[in-house]
Symmetry: C2
Subunit: 355 residues, 2 copies
């Protein structure tokens, strides 16, 4: 029976996003785009150490790896690299989940084999695909997690925060549509049905709640809508490269808006972009590149994104539903500096019409 | 048991598209945008007469009404208007189908009620929704038709041409997404699964065929991708107004391309556009405005689009699979002039990789 995730006694749930480790063979794997002073003693181990440090500093309730966890081309032993990449998370005993990017299958493992291996690792809540959709869904690594209300609160058996994980694929297999892949109709349909089911459960007895529990979506390849932001009109963070979205619009942005529960999307893929922007009420956020064997920008620290979701405090001091969703980034510098803190959503401000 | 449609003995299947009749109350309903000389004796009956004439001239195998069949606002008696609008098709005894636009439900009938009534009319093959998807699909009037090979040919029990009909809705019900509605995830998923099933059947024994049978898709509101064409880069026809697509991209263009069987999309909605354009191998065609109570352009004749699909001639003179898809338009002038003939697709030229 999979472990039930829940808001903590202080009414908080914290998620650490690790985007694009591009892990290969550990100590023998050189860093990319680092300062000359760093190069001599820089390897995949820097990625491992950064992860241990940021986990220790933030103590998240969940760690999310958003793809390109390994850089398949350079990997000698896929199993060993995957295990080493996730080792600090496994050692921390904190629940973690992973989805695939476009490089994870470029070693000797197919995408299905990579996901099949990940789901068997300790402390992971990753799934290959949802049982109810396994017979029709495209990709590997589509699943959702329910985060329940605080213990001994009225919502302890309700999912008050829903996390969606999707496989944005690797490269298009469709003629005329060169470039990166996208989230397919079958995956969008699974998301749409799951979101509707979760709303029904949220509104159902016992203890029916009004409206819809907020959600967050994590996948690797950004949507074309990310293109509408640059460093000036982003809410926080910077754009330092293009957006390598698919060459066609899958309609997933529309599907997300139509449901209305997902308040923010988190992606990776473009390592030196780390902005969030808001479009039609939906936040579009990059994690910012984490790994040292991934391309980056010398002097621009590797980084991780943290999301903290806070509950409302009810009368008699009990915890209620979600009040706000905040985010910031941690840099891999001496003090693990915190930058770009912002509120992505709060329950009062965005009185969206409930669908 | 619904009537099976089949290619004729001369290896041809002809479809007449009637876009945007905007029918109201018959003789008492005035025409819009007609020449002064026409105005005095112009009413909905002009629409009726044009339909009778063009049916007689073309003798199609199927008549397709692509929405805004009635103009709800002006309708006094919804039932009477619907029946009158389709009367010439019913009288012709030719099988016909209809889908909904954004005006059909603006009288006293809801979209569901309009479709429920249409499916009961004589000689129609319209469906409210596909039985296998009725429990999840959005909209009313989503269905497909299989056109079987010529009688006593090897393909007489195979669907060699697949027609998809979809409800593109009326007005967006999603905050932030003002304007027209779009084809939802559930409908795209139904299309995707149906296309895959039809391919399996096409490739299955007895008499397995290679590749995929071509398809055509009919709905009312154009996709945003229609915006990429004007009178200069269209293959045939003109643009004389904007494209009133939804304000967001549903991804249905991507879904169609990913499947690869649909060779052309036919829409209505923008009455004084009548072009076809080709984008990534998919033809995007307007029908051109048919009805006289619909806005138009004085001096620019109302028109209908005809599509003719021809089969390959096999050895020993038997008919085979589809060879080509052609289209032209008929104008409501003295001679029902034929204009803009073009080949949309032919089997040899477009050797698309089969998915």
């Amino acid at each position: 029976q999979r472990r039930k995730l829940r808001f903590s006694v202080n009414g908080e749930f914290k998620i650490l996003q690790v985007a694009d480790m591009h892990f290969a063979n550990g100590a023998k794997t050189q860093c990319q785009n680092v300062l000359p002073s760093q190069r001599a003693h820089c390897s995949d181990l820097n990625t491992t150490i950064f992860m241990s440090r940021v986990i220790a500093a933030e103590k998240p309730d969940l760690i999310v790896f958003t793809g390109d966890n390994i850089f398949g081309f350079d990997v000698k032993d896929a199993l060993k690299s995957i295990n080493a990449a996730f080792a600090p998370a496994i050692a921390s005993k904190i629940p973690w989940v992973a989805i695939l990017g476009n490089h994870d299958q470029e070693s000797t493992f197919t995408r299905q084999q990579v996901m099949n291996h990940i789901v068997k690792l300790p402390n992971t809540l990753s799934q290959v695909n949802p049982p109810e959709a396994a017979h029709y869904i495209d990709g590997f690594g589509n699943y959702n997690l329910q985060i329940h209300g605080a213990a001994d609160s009225k919502l302890q058996n309700k999912s008050v925060l829903n996390l969606y994980f999707l496989d944005s694929g690797d490269y298009s297999s469709v003629p005329y549509m060169e470039g990166y892949d996208w989230i397919k109709t079958s995956q969008q349909f699974w998301f749409d049905r799951t979101s509707k089911r979760l709303k029904r459960e949220y509104n159902a007895k016992p203890n029916p709640q009004e409206g819809i529990a907020p959600g967050l979506a994590y996948f690797h390849i950004p949507l074309p809508e990310f293109l509408s932001f640059d460093s000036k009109n982003a809410t926080k963070g910077v754009r330092q490269e293009g957006t390598s979205a698919a060459s066609t619009n899958s309609g997933f942005f529309t599907t997300l808006i139509a449901r209305g529960d997902v308040k923010s999307v988190f992606v990776g893929h473009d390592h030196v972009n780390d902005f969030c922007g808001e479009l039609k009420g939906l936040n579009l956020c990059y994690g910012g590149g984490f790994g040292y064997h991934a391309y980056g920008k010398a002097g621009w620290e590797r980084r991780a994104r943290v999301v903290v979701v806070d509950l409302n405090k009810k009368r008699k001091g009990k915890w209620g539903a979600v009040k706000s969703i905040k985010t910031w980034k941690r840099l891999d510098d001496k003090h693990l500096s915190v930058i770009d803190s912002q509120v992505l959503w709060n329950n009062s401000a965005n009185k969206l019409v409930v669908r």
